[in-house]
């Protein structure tokens, strides 16, 4: 039941972003070659992230559901022919992206620095826990955590706050996809736990970086933030 313009807007924009998702899934144009065992990163989840950022969590959820159905329908390996792996985790992509964007929208550089600090502490705690069970993995996670924090801080100092929020939302949306899909796959016995870790680290992080780059480019174009955007339609 809709009675206002906002309802119509949600339906139409969800429909069009879903059309882009279907196009990306079924034509394989959204495959980016990567230096990882899984070979390709996908950008087919980006419409769900953008729907979440621009129109709110409900639109993000709808597009994520459509993405899940599309990847379930077009799956060529047994893992993605399971709706619990293909559809359920995808619902959350747009939702988490939307939440992170809302959270960071009002942030200043100071609050961002504090958040990065907290993130670093959390990751180091996690790496210590991992160190106690699998030693080498704990060391790798700790190095990645420190490196990532340093890079994030350096990058945040020299980037527009709005773009930082957008990139973080996109990266979190993309990581939601990776983490939830892999957890579901492990839970349903499609891949062993250690392999999931490997795929998560080598595949999830580059995919998050790619999503952040592409999402910032798209949202800047749609909102005309940043400089150097003309009104060309092609």
């Amino acid at each position: 039941m809709i009675s206002n313009e906002r309802g119509i807007r949600r339906i139409v924009i969800a429909g069009l972003l879903l059309a882009i998702t279907l196009l990306l899934v079924f034509t394989r144009i959204g495959m980016i070659p990567m230096p990882t065992p899984a070979a390709n990163a996908t950008i087919a989840h980006i419409p769900a992230i953008i729907g979440g950022i621009l129109e709110g969590p409900i639109v993000g959820l709808l597009i994520g559901m459509g993405f899940g159905f599309a990847s379930f329908m077009s799956a060529t390996i047994p893992m993605f022919k399971d709706p619990i792996v293909a559809i359920l985790p995808r619902l959350m992509i747009g939702v988490t992206a939307s939440w992170v964007f809302i959270l960071l929208r009002a942030a200043t550089r100071r609050t961002l620095s504090i958040m990065i600090g907290i993130l670093c502490v959390l990751m180091l705690t996690f790496s210590y826990q991992t160190y106690q069970t699998i030693a080498w993995l704990g060391i790798v996670v700790a190095i990645v955590a420190v490196g990532a924090t340093a890079w994030l801080y350096w990058w945040m100092r020299r980037t527009d706050v709005q773009i930082v929020g957008l990139s973080m939302a996109a990266a979190v949306g993309s990581l939601t996809n990776t983490v939830l899909v892999l957890s579901a796959a492990v839970w349903r016995d499609y891949i062993p736990f250690e392999a999931a870790w490997g795929i998560g680290l080598t595949h999830g992080i580059p995919e998050a970086v790619v999503s952040a780059i592409v999402t910032v480019a798209i949202v800047s174009a749609l909102r005309h933030i940043g400089e150097g955007w003309s009104d060309s339609q092609l």
Binding site: I8, I13, A19, P33, L62, M79, P192, L222, L234
Partner: protein
């Protein structure tokens, strides 16, 4: 460049016209049966129940006169990936300690449970591939969205917007070929401007992401422009949601659909019984 030509021919489960009992079923009956069977596939974990399900679905495929070779054709390129994943699953499956082993060679342990998990997941994959083809190859997209809307209607009492969800699906399916054509023109326009569209090596993934952005960003801008036009058009026509809306084609349940649903119920009971029996 020629690869762009294919973009407008996106087919999502191409409709294969026919006049079989499966083609003539009401889309609501088909959707309901489809959803139930998917649930059943997830529950079936023994050899006997999954083979039984495969048999049931195969007989429906034969009844709908769908070419099986065509249904399997899009799996063929993925065969190496399927083989590698199955092998990983076989080698690293964690059976409970003390489970009977099929093979124990040095550090390599393969239990009977692991073999069953792999074979059952391969059968499940086949069943789901056939099921999806059964639904999408025998039903037109318009009757699918109509059926979906009418199935979701009772949920609107619970606050779930059934009409709106179906409309989102219909808008998306309508716009896929239009945006595909648009993507084709964008690709040609960027080529004409000598935008660097070479796919770089695997390590240059930032470069590759920028290359894809050169195609995707204009596509999103175009989609948003079309969306604004459509919002204006819908407001101009006083669109007010699903309440009190009538349809050109009204769906009716015939005796054929009740028979199909009855058979469906019987097969659910059969599969669940076989699953409960302590067959391997």
């Amino acid at each position: 460049m020629a690869s762009y030509e294919a973009l407008r021919h996106v087919t999502i489960g191409r409709y294969i016209p026919g006049d079989t009992p499966i083609h003539r079923l009401d889309p609501r009956a088909k959707l309901f049966a489809f959803a139930t069977l998917i649930g059943l596939v997830l529950v079936a974990t023994s050899y006997a129940s999954s083979v039984l399900l495969l048999g049931l679905v195969l007989s429906c495929v034969l009844m709908a006169q769908l070419p099986i070779g065509y249904l399997l054709s899009n799996i063929r390129p993925a065969l190496p990936a399927i083989a590698i994943l199955s092998l990983l699953q076989l080698l690293f499956y964690r059976a409970e300690p003390g489970a009977p082993l099929l093979l124990a060679w040095g550090k390599l342990h393969i239990s009977f449970v692991a073999v069953r998990v792999v074979i059952v997941s391969l059968i499940r994959f086949l069943v789901l591939t056939f099921l999806i083809s059964l639904l999408t190859n025998t039903t037109t997209t318009s009757s699918l969205t109509n059926g979906l809307e009418s199935l979701l209607r009772p949920l609107s009492r619970l606050g779930l917007p059934g009409h709106e969800i179906a409309l989102v699906g219909a808008v998306a399916l309508r716009f896929v070929p239009i945006l595909g054509e648009e993507l084709e023109s964008i690709a040609k326009a960027q080529d004409a401007r000598s935008v660097d569209d070479r796919i770089g090596g695997r390590w240059q993934f930032v470069h590759n992401a920028r290359r894809v952005a050169a195609l995707i960003v204009p596509l999103f801008v175009d989609a948003y422009r079309r969306a604004e036009e459509m919002i204006l058009a819908m407001r101009a026509r006083c669109y007010h949601g699903g309440e009190g809306r009538t349809h050109l084609v009204t769906l009716t349940f015939s005796s054929r659909d009740y028979v199909a649903l009855g058979l469906m119920g019987l097969s659910i009971i059969l599969v669940l019984t076989v699953q409960q029996l302590s067959l391997p």
